[in-house]
């Protein structure tokens, strides 16, 4: 099993903003009550990692950072066919911004060991910054491909297509490198029955599961706590304000027959101005 690529995929657990559970009436997230999920962008990264392994051989290691429940997404990754997972979990990481997060993950990757390709989701749905991937690449001194929507390896070289404004570009690089995967990449395949069954079996034997999923602390990975969490973050959220409700002048049309409703709207505003000329 010496051949193939040593692949790392970075994953994050985020609040499920799509479900109403855990949303306060004012629209803020109650993180304690919110449903949790694997960051949707990371599913594309996971697909890229597993596909690369399938095509060219190797192993996939999933790495995450977060509170203990984040182990759920590593189990999910395992079900999909990832070989092992590491969760960096430490109270001192609370309130880390992207720079502090990238530092902590950089130390974790160094702890995990050698790699050829690191896949990340383009961004997370709770932070929306798309910064941690490139900042990780900077710390690791790697070339990077962001906004990647197609990825293959030919003669030991990575060929990647990345989105740019109004088009795309194709780039070539030799591993090691870091790639962030856009949501126009292939969607994650369904987990196999076998994968799900295997993880179910593993969960019954904690000692055995511990061989596949390891939770580590800042001390384990040798990260400087001063560079993590609030202390290690050069940005802070100084103030939040509710976005004022706009307009409030919406004319609501309801409780009538469908054709009546539509007619009301069409006559109530100048929609017809924009209609294409009649075809006849």
């Amino acid at each position: 099993m010496a051949s193939g690529y040593k692949i790392i995929v970075m994953v994050k657990q985020v609040p499920d903003t799509g479900s109403k559970a855990g949303l306060n009436p004012d629209g803020t997230i109650d993180r304690a009550r919110a449903k949790r999920m694997l960051n949707p962008f990371d599913k594309f990264a996971l697909q890229a990692a597993l596909h690369t392994k399938k095509m060219y051989g190797g192993s996939v290691t999933a790495i995450s950072m977060g509170p203990p429940p984040a182990v759920e997404i590593l189990l999910e990754a395992l079900e999909h066919g990832v070989d092992r997972g590491f969760l960096l979990s430490d109270r001192r990481l609370a309130a880390s911004d992207t720079l502090a997060t990238a530092y902590a993950l950089y130390k974790t990757i160094q702890y995990v060991g050698d790699f050829d390709i690191i896949f990340c989701g383009l961004q997370t749905t709770d932070g929306d910054t798309a910064q941690v991937g490139p900042q990780l690449a900077e710390r690791l001194n790697l070339p990077q491909v962001t906004y990647c929507e197609d990825f293959s390896v030919q003669n030991g070289e990575v060929h990647a297509r990345r989105i740019i404004e109004g088009g795309h570009q194709t780039v070539i690089a030799k591993p090691p490198l870091l790639v962030t995967i856009a949501n126009s990449y292939h969607p994650l395949e369904y987990k196999s029955f076998r994968g799900a069954w295997r993880v179910q079996q593993l969960q019954r034997k904690q000692e055995e599961l511990a061989q596949y999923i390891k939770t580590v602390t800042l001390d384990d990975v040798g990260a400087d706590p001063e560079r993590c969490g609030l202390k290690g973050s050069p940005t802070i959220v100084a103030k939040t304000e509710k976005v004022g409700e706009l307009g409030g002048s919406c004319s609501i049309h309801e409780g009538k027959a469908v054709d009546e409703l539509v007619k009301e709207v069409i006559t109530g505003c100048n929609v017809k101005e924009f209609l294409a000329a009649g075809k006849k």
Binding site: T17, D126, D128, E165, V243, G248, C269, F274
Partner: protein, 379 residues
């Protein structure tokens, strides 16, 4: 009120003046171009940067990297920069992370003092480059801002006592906050340059007028390791149909459509209009129902069409920031409490699969009757 203040003031410790930590300074905009075309966001950043620089009484700088840039440096002056730094090298012709990163880092390190603020576009280039520079300098970076300002900040958190104090001139980087109906003001006054990327289409460029300023060539010293990635080709996609940002009419679909097939219906509705396009909320793009290029909102495109028809879109803040400036918004949603009904102009509470086919029917009728009218007119 006044009494309260009097009572409080003696208790309040005198805040240390931290202006030495975050002194005022220049504002730097990093320019962006694709295949020789200066990107509009660069001119928008110069417009925003001009305001920030004037607030501090400081010059506005612009750094442009490329090869054989023609009149681009002059254009950057004409749109508001006081000084344009040009890094010209054949290897910089097209954007690549590592060579551009090298030039920016070398340039910043060569300056006697760091600029106060450094701005890039929140584009596939800016979001690729900015985080690397911020990580290299261990400085703060705020993504995807929609407002920028300069103002004071009192830091009182005791987590790191050495940081407590009054910072008189901070970059306020303001952005809609994740998944919540909130705007967050993000600061990082502990180190210059304070960095931000800014959404295209939000800031207002200055009109081009002949302005004087300096154009300065800077050295380019690339290293072997900067060439680890090569660009094989750059493809401009001839937009299938109308480009979202240029459409007069956008018919957009969200998760409320229930299935991917709903978009066929939206396509048909869009087909009723001149210069129209189909848009989508993020959730359905995440689900793979429609390509990313069609996404409207914070992480997609900012649009301001004459007419925006939102079908099965709840209207969360991330979507709203991308389309709320549309001239006329019609929303269709089953849920009468959907936030979109708070800012749409017309809202129809009902099932998209009943409303939209009826709309198509009535629009087609209107089209054919207007056709008849034309015939009558020529009578």
């Amino acid at each position: 009120m006044a009494e309260e203040q009097e009572k409080k003031q003696p208790e309040k410790p005198e805040l240390k003046d931290m202006s030495a930590i975050c002194p005022i300074g220049e504002v730097l905009v990093i320019a962006e171009h694709i295949l020789g075309d200066l990107q509009p966001v660069t001119l928008e950043l110069l417009g925003a940067g001009r305001i920030l620089a004037d607030k501090m009484g400081q010059p506005l700088l612009c750094l442009v990297m490329g090869h054989e840039l023609g009149d681009m440096p002059q254009r950057l002056l004409d749109h508001g920069a006081d000084r344009v730094y040009v890094a010209d090298h054949p290897e910089l012709k097209n954007y690549r992370t590592l060579p551009y990163r090298r030039v920016v880092c070398d340039f910043l390190e060569s300056l006697p003092s760091q600029p106060h603020t450094c701005l890039l576009g929140s584009t596939t280039t800016g979001r690729d480059l900015a985080p690397r520079i911020a990580a290299h300098f261990d400085t703060g970076l705020t993504a995807d801002t929609t407002e920028l300002d300069i103002g004071p900040y009192e830091h009182t958190s005791k987590v790191d006592p050495s940081k407590i104090g009054l910072y008189p001139n901070c970059l306020y980087a303001i952005r809609p906050s994740f998944g919540e109906s909130l705007k967050a003001r993000i600061l990082g006054p502990w180190k210059n340059p304070q960095m931000a990327t800014t959404r295209p289409g939000v800031m207002v460029p200055l009109p081009r007028e002949s302005r004087k300023g300096e154009i300065i060539n800077i050295p380019v010293n690339l290293q072997e390791t900067d060439h680890r990635l090569t660009v094989k080709e750059i493809v401009r996609e001839v937009a299938k149909g109308v480009n979202l940002t240029e459409a007069d009419v956008i018919v957009a679909g969200g998760y409320g459509l229930g299935t991917q097939d709903g978009f066929n219906m939206l396509q048909e509705l869009a087909g009723c209009f001149e210069n129209s396009a189909v848009g989508a909320s993020r959730k359905v793009v995440d689900l793979g129902w429609i390509p990313y290029q069609n996404q409207v909102g914070q992480t997609g495109k900012t649009v301001r069409p004459k007419l925006y028809i939102a079908c099965g879109i709840s209207g969360a803040i991330q979507h709203r920031v991308g389309m709320s400036k549309s001239s006329l918004i019609i929303a269709i949603n089953k849920d009468p409490d959907a936030p979109i009904f708070k800012f749409a102009h017309h809202g129809i509470v009902g099932d998209c699969y009943q409303i939209i086919p009826e709309m198509i029917k009535q629009f087609k009728q209107a089209q054919s009757t207007s056709g008849v009218k034309e015939v009558v007119g020529t009578h």
